[in-house]
């Protein structure tokens, strides 16, 4: 590739983060450090029942005995768990009945993020939003309308108070406390998050959406999301995330559990744009989350779609346990890394039931000095007669100083299973760029077009409004001044 294109591609890799403002709000922040007292404090602040406190304390004991994993394709950063505050909440009590009671600073933060908290603007009633600001859920819109259909969409904290039986039944049923060290940590100190229950036979009438924002300094965000689709229910859920620019790394260790009962379907989409750190790799979010769904009933379906552009380090493997016969798991992912970002992401498809099917489409995009790894496990249990997996795993390189890696693992214990794997690696070619610029298209836009074309199969899975947003995000993430 010629020098000018090289330079262009280099610059494209350096575009600044647009969501890096902080919000000046009086915060109630727990002192740094992690101990039984911290856990008791969080539980007390949230006025939790005794069983939940016990559950948290048990998780803490697991956490204290677990070791940091060593298998990942990057050097694990030193995280000082005693140097983090595990609870931060806006001082104004955020459980509100109308928008008027929300702190105007907070509203303006959400406005800057483009989050439609203003109810009239919420896409004419097609999206309901729950916004999580640091540790607490600020506002859940459209609750009344959803209630008419029996849909519960509220903050996790409220669910604990109002629907303890559901929480107790499903919490930790898909991601056990001992799953990994960050899941254990989350189970001990999780602050808030979203809760969804769709009753039997109900198609949720609108997209449900949560926006997460880390604002306070030196705090971690440990939200917990639990979504249950009862028999024959359907829900499409979207989460978006941003954080201010800070020189220190911030830890985000969420747990998301999805449960689909017989004939139910859950679509879970993520547009992740946590602060990635500056061009030298200073600051940024460590995004270490555990997301898993359980196709518990026959003919159920869970699909994950993720567009990952942020975070200094992303480390996540949204997976599906295909327990019900004829159940379907899908994973569609675009992960874009630039500068010194690291992403190690993929999925786990665990086939247990008969005739289960899974599909994995992973599109990595690496620019700058970043490293982007796909890591996927397809596991076929002995009882998973006639299961199928199709995996397609593509990498796109921008420039020649970045890396793309794939680590597909297969464990099959049933001979009737059929597994297909396809992988490609390509570079944005000088010839493609020249073709587009020769037609009058600006080089940056040209890169945006090529990248969006490459990611199209995944973007097509997103609900329409968010597909547009994700396309812009991908283009913006690669934007830079052209010399």
């Amino acid at each position: 590739m010629s020098t000018k294109d090289d330079e262009l591609l280099k610059e494209l890799a350096l575009e600044e983060y647009k969501y890096g403002f902080t919000t000046d709000i009086e915060m109630d922040i727990a002192p740094k450090g992690l101990s039984e007292d911290t856990v008791r404090l969080i539980s007390a602040k949230k006025n939790e029942p005794e069983w939940l406190l016990e559950w948290r304390l048990k998780a803490l004991r697991h956490f204290q005995q677990m070791q940091m994993p060593t298998w990942q394709n990057f050097e694990h950063p030193d995280v000082d768990f005693q140097d983090i505050s595990y609870y931060a909440a806006p001082k104004t009590k955020p459980k509100l009945d109308s928008m008027d009671e929300v702190d105007p600073e907070l509203l303006s933060t959400f406005a800057k993020l483009g989050i439609p908290l203003d109810e009239q603007k919420i896409l004419a009633g097609v999206v309901a939003v729950d916004a999580v600001f640091d540790s607490v859920s600020v506002k859940t819109t459209f609750r009344e309308k959803l209630k008419e259909q029996g849909v519960i969409f509220c903050s996790f904290g409220e669910a604990v108070q109002e629907h303890p039986e559901l929480v107790k039944q499903y919490l930790g049923s898909v991601v056990p406390q001992t799953d990994n060290i960050y899941a254990a940590l989350n189970s001990a100190v999780f602050s808030d998050g979203s809760f969804v229950y769709i009753p039997k036979g109900v198609r949720c009438p609108m997209e449900l959406s949560t926006y997460f924002r880390i604002n306070a300094e030196n705090t971690g965000q440990f939200e917990r999301t639990l979504i249950i689709a009862d028999e024959e229910a359907y829900v499409s859920y979207l989460e978006g995330c941003t954080a201010p620019m800070r020189d220190e790394n911030q830890l985000h260790a969420a747990v998301v559990e999805l449960i689909a009962l017989k004939d139910a379907e859950i679509k879970y989409s993520t547009v992740q744009n946590w602060y990635p750190g500056d061009k030298d790799g200073k600051g940024g979010i460590y995004n270490f989350v555990t997301k898993r769904g359980m196709c518990k009933g026959d003919n159920s379906k869970i699909s994950w779609t993720q567009v990952e552009t942020g975070s200094a380090i992303t480390w996540k493997y949204p997976g599906v346990i295909l327990k019900g016969d004829h159940s379907v798991g899908e994973f569609y992912s675009v992960a874009l890394t630039r500068n010194k970002q690291l992403a190690d992401t993929g999925t786990k498809m665990i086939h247990l039931g008969k005739n289960t099917r899974s599909k994995i489409v992973s599109k990595g995009i690496s620019a700058g000095l970043s490293h982007n790894s796909y890591r996927g496990l397809v596991k076929i249990g002995p009882g998973a007669e006639n299961s199928r997996n199709f995996t397609q795993c593509d990498s796109l390189l921008i420039g020649d100083r970045c890396g793309a890696h794939t680590f597909p693992y297969i464990e099959s214990r049933n001979k009737t299973a059929k597994l297909e794997h396809e992988a490609t690696t390509s570079k944005i070619g000088e010839d493609q760029l020249f073709y587009l610029t020769q037609r009058g298209i600006d080089p940056e836009k040209a890169v945006g077009l090529i990248v969006n074309g490459y990611a199209k199969e995944v973007l097509n899975q997103l609900p329409m409004e968010f597909a547009v947003e994700a396309q812009k995000l991908l283009a913006i993430s690669l934007e830079g001044s052209v010399g």
Binding site: S2, T3, K4, D5, G429, E430, D431, Q432, F434, Y435, L436, T437, Q438, R439, G440, I441, D442, P443, K445, L449, I450, N452, G453, Y454, A455, K456, E457
Partner: protein, 254 residues
């Protein structure tokens, strides 16, 4: 319109164009013929501003403006269009979306607002008909999985949409069967006007039966060694390039 004087250009330190002169006026069609490797595609790439091609001497003016100063996208916006000898595939990028982006960028450069969706679609429909381009292809990903001939026809469709001042067709005829060739030629003829000009690069006299040129030039060893009218193409067809090579090499020896 286009004025090329003493153009020297090299690729990877190898001198390819060695003093090329060419004047093209508005309303004219110039054919450029010549043996393989003589520098025809290089000329197209140099005019379009491809990075790997370094101009070492000479000048190129488009309506008095120094073309060599401009970036590839600005040259395109000024009205230079290159129909590629080998159009690339760009997976996932819809042909239509690409054209809309290109058209609106060119319009923005000229200070025009973007075309309304309806106007744009009308134009697509009308131009598709003009160059007999399959609507199904227009809606597919850009050149992805197109046959060689379909790619070439897509170049002409883009040409019809963008309406450049100066179009350079680089062996658009190669890989086309006779029917496709006729269709492409008919499209080009309909697009010809007193305000635009075409440089048609070809190996074969065949295309020139359909797109009748005002001038024919023979490019050999980086220079235009013969210029004439369409009879020159016939003579070339009859006597072959060896005739040119021999006479030119003999002249050089003198």
């Amino acid at each position: 319109m286009l004025s090329i004087r003493n153009l020297h250009a090299s690729v990877e330190a190898k001198q390819i164009l060695k003093g090329l002169d060419l004047e093209v006026k508005a309303g004219e069609v110039h054919a450029i013929m010549g043996p393989n490797g003589s520098g025809k595609s290089t000329l197209g790439n140099v005019l379009a501003g491809r990075e790997a091609y370094e101009v070492t001497a000479g000048e190129v003016l488009l309506d008095g403006k120094d073309l060599l100063e401009l970036s590839p996208e600005d040259r395109a916006r000024e009205g230079v269009f290159l129909a590629f000898q080998y159009p690339v595939e760009i997976p996932g990028v819809s042909n239509i979306n690409f054209l809309k982006t290109a058209l609106n960028e060119v319009r923005a450069y000229k200070g025009l607002p973007p075309l309304e969706a309806k106007e744009f679609l009308n134009k697509v429909k009308e131009r598709q008909k003009l160059v007999e381009f399959d609507a199904k292809l227009a809606n597919r990903s850009l050149n992805e999985g197109f046959s060689g001939g379909e790619k070439k026809r897509n170049e002409i469709f883009q040409l019809a949409m963008l309406e450049p001042k100066l179009a350079i067709l680089d062996e658009t005829d190669s890989g086309l069967d006779i029917d496709a060739l006729r269709i492409v030629a008919r499209g080009v003829n309909q697009l010809r006007s007193k305000d635009n000009a075409f440089i048609v690069i070809t190996h074969y006299q065949r295309l020139l039966d359909y797109i009748v040129p005002d001038f024919v030039h023979v490019l050999y060893n980086g220079r235009i060694v013969r210029s004439g009218t369409k009879e020159l193409a016939l003579e070339l067809e009859e006597k072959g390039y060896d005739w040119i090579k021999e006479t030119v090499d003999a002249e050089g020896a003198v």
